[in-house]
């Protein structure tokens, strides 16, 4: 065998080993259902009701209430009883959430690289005592789906 031939074989072997020990993977875990942002305009603050929100977005991921902490001072002196009751009444909300957990992993012989990104779209709709929409808050962190 010639010298050139053996060098080529060694290079091929190194290349094969490098390919064999190189790996990568991309994964995305999705939780919940994507939120259709175009429908948020149909929710009018002060007019739409809980039933309207359910009709537009379906059942929420969570129906909860904000934590309301009583004041340290005596409420009978400060008159905070009424304020606290109002805060409690206006703390009920529907939460819609869609979350993506993106991970990618790459290993090239001597280096391993891992990247993880957790992003979510959230829609919160707050109601007043009469179950009328009081506040709407929406944030989108995931990317728009590609146009078909």
């Amino acid at each position: 065998m010639t010298k050139n031939g053996s060098v080529r074989e060694v290079l091929l072997l190194i290349g094969a080993v490098a390919i064999a020990v190189t790996g990568c993977a991309i994964s995305t875990q999705r939780f919940g259902r994507p939120i259709d942002a175009s429908r948020i305009a149909n929710i009018a603050v002060g007019t739409s009701t809980k039933a309207d929100v359910l009709r537009e977005f379906g059942p929420p991921s969570a129906y909860s209430a904000l934590p309301v902490v009583p004041s340290r001072q005596d409420p009978s002196v400060t008159g905070a009883d009424d304020l606290l009751a109002r805060a409690e009444a206006e703390s009920r909300m529907f939460v819609y959430e869609y979350r993506e957990d993106r991970e990618n992993f790459l290993t090239i012989i001597l280096l391993t690289r891992f990247r993880r990104e957790v992003v979510s779209d959230r829609l919160m709709v707050f109601f007043d005592e009469g179950d009328v929409v009081h506040y709407v808050a929406f944030s989108k962190q995931t990317e728009e789906p590609a146009a078909q």
């Binding site: 020990v21 790996g23 993977a25 994964s27 875990q29 603050v45 904000l66 934590p67 309301v68 902490v69 009583p70 004041s71 409420p75 400060t78 905070a80 009883d81 304020l83 606290l84 805060a87 703390s91 939460v95 957990d101 991970e103 992993f105 290993t107 012989i109 001597l110 280096l111 391993t112 690289r113 891992f114 990247r115 993880r116 990104e117 957790v118 992003v119 959230r122 829609l123 919160m124 009081h134 506040y135 709407v136 808050a137 929406f138 944030s139 989108k140 962190q141």
Partner: protein
């Protein structure tokens, strides 16, 4: 005729001792571990950077470039990998046996958190919600409320130089796998924006570790 049998016996003994959690290993470590020329075998083969919680042993190994024969919680990884990374670490030995540099990045929440210029004292809570979206934390009191928006990013980098435990088994020098150098750097950065409202739900103050352009301070 005696030599092969002796060799097999020693190999079997070594295999049991190096199993990481075997009886001989544990006896060795607890009795002569501190002065043994091979060091604490369990710590070398199984690892020692984990803590026990009410759900069992937990280890954060995402940025760990250590060369090890098997992942520490291999059975759990096989049975119920809770993320791709957890599963990938099960294959770590096969994939990254010679990978002594590891880099990890984790981003959770709003990386582009910025303080809008319109967000000035006097803004009602509804407008603040429209500008920033749902807060991560919102605590209401009778006499006011507090909102928090946050994003967390974590970058880690680690380097390991030493004799990998599986290779050390074939080097007849006691404690050779203890000769190692490892370096690990971990940086966690959080961007935070806090809003304080009065009892009429009007913004009175903001506090943030970001500026208007969104750069973390």
């Amino acid at each position: 005729m005696i030599r092969p049998a002796l060799g097999l016996g020693i190999t079997a003994l070594a295999a049991i001792a190096l199993s990481g959690c075997g009886l001989i290993t544990m006896m060795h470590d607890s009795v002569i571990g501190p002065i043994s020329p091979v060091g604490r075998v369990n710590a070398v083969t199984v690892g020692s950077d984990f803590h026990v919680t009410d759900t069992g042993p937990v280890a954060e190994l995402g940025a760990d470039a250590r060369l090890r024969p098997i992942p520490r919680d291999m059975i759990r990884r096989m049975a119920m990998p809770n993320s791709y990374w957890s599963l990938a670490q099960f294959f770590e030995f096969f994939l990254t046996s010679f990978s002594f540099v590891a880099q990890r990045e984790t981003h959770v929440g709003r990386a582009d958190l910025a303080l809008p210029a319109e967000l000035q004292p006097g803004v009602p809570v509804g407008e603040a919600l429209a500008l920033l979206g749902p807060p991560d934390v919102w605590i209401r009191r009778g006499d006011g409320s507090f909102m928090l928006y946050r994003g967390v990013s974590d970058r880690a980098w680690s380097f390991y130089a030493g004799v990998p435990p599986p290779v050390g088994w074939f080097i007849p020098i006691p404690g050779i796998t203890n000769l190692r150098y490892s370096y690990r750097s971990e940086k966690e950065r959080a961007t935070k924006l806090m809003l304080f409202f009065d009892e009429r739900d009007v913004l009175v103050r903001t506090s943030a570790n970001i500026d208007v352009s969104g750069e973390a301070r």
